[in-house]
């Protein structure tokens, strides 16, 4: 067992995010969007 916490040696790793969204414009002035953020995170326990 190390004396330091694991984060000490792995201070930074790359992060990957997947966001998806869809947009609907019923009129020229109104916009309705639906976004889902960090979809890959749903699989990452």
């Amino acid at each position: 067992m190390g004396l330091s916490e694991p984060g000490y040696e792995q201070a930074f790793r790359g992060n990957y995010y997947l966001n998806l969204g869809t947009e609907y414009m019923p009129t020229n002035k109104l916009t309705i969007r639906f976004d889902a953020y960090n979809i890959l995170g749903w699989l990452d326990s």
Binding site: F12, N19, G21, E23, K29, L30, T31, I32, R33, F34, D35, A36, Y37, N38, G41
Partner: protein, 223 residues
């Protein structure tokens, strides 16, 4: 693909790049000409004329063309902010700006850096709103504005991916982020956004312009 189609495609691509760089960010060399005439005339230019078009990009103080701009820059327009679904300035920068890093921590805003030049006190990046420095001098550095949830008042964001102290003053070691807000020249009316959710988000945006919506380059320079 035929040669003429390739030329047409190249012209459209180049025109798009030039328009993004010209319409969004900066004062034009020919400020005396109205913005309206610019919108119409730039589409009539040939490839050679587009390449020779002189502007004042955010990376320099002198009139130059885009090919001789002394630093790499990214321009994020209001349309890009909306279409990206970004919930904060940090997210917008993370989505659009190449070579920009965010290192999250437990005690404050994520450390922000460009091209791996990054400090835990966020003092390597100069953050400006309409040309005025808003970095905290004492502790947090580039901190304000980064986590605000509404981006609707932003006209565009100029990001210089590299040192910029020669133009913007001390503190621009890794890069410069210049937020240009909407003004009476660029937007008149009502812009309302309602957001609901966290990981899932439903967003309704209503733009009711009291007068005709104007999307024009700001007349004053960004510096």
């Amino acid at each position: 693909m035929s040669t003429s189609a390739q030329k047409k495609l190249a012209r459209v691509a180049l025109l798009s790049t030039m328009m993004a760089s010209i319409l969004a960010p900066v004062a034009l060399a020919q400020q005396s000409t109205a913005a309206d005439s610019l919108d119409a005339s730039v589409f009539d230019l040939s490839l050679e004329e587009l390449l020779q078009l002189e502007i004042i990009p955010s990376t320099t103080l002198t009139v130059t063309d885009l090919r001789h701009s002394p630093a790499a820059s990214t321009i994020i327009s209001q349309e890009m902010l909306v279409s990206s679904g970004a919930r904060s300035l940090d997210e917008a920068l993370e989505i659009y700006v190449p070579n920009m890093q965010f290192m999250r921590n437990h005690h404050g805003a994520a450390a922000m850096g460009v091209r791996t030049i990054l400090s835990s006190t966020n003092n390597k990046v100069l953050l400006l709103v309409n040309g005025r420095v808003i970095n905290h001098r004492l502790q947090q550095g580039a901190f304000s504005e980064r986590d605000l949830p509404t981006l609707g008042d932003i006209h565009h964001i100029d990001v210089i991916r590299g040192p910029g102290s020669a133009v913007y003053g001390p503190g621009a070691v890794a890069g410069v982020i210049n937020i240009i807000t909407q003004s009476h020249q660029t937007f008149t009316g009502l812009d309302t956004t309602i957001r609901l959710g966290g990981r899932w988000m439903v967003r309704c945006r209503y733009i009711g312009a009291l007068t005709e919506r104007k999307i024009k380059p700001p007349i004053t320079t960004t510096l």
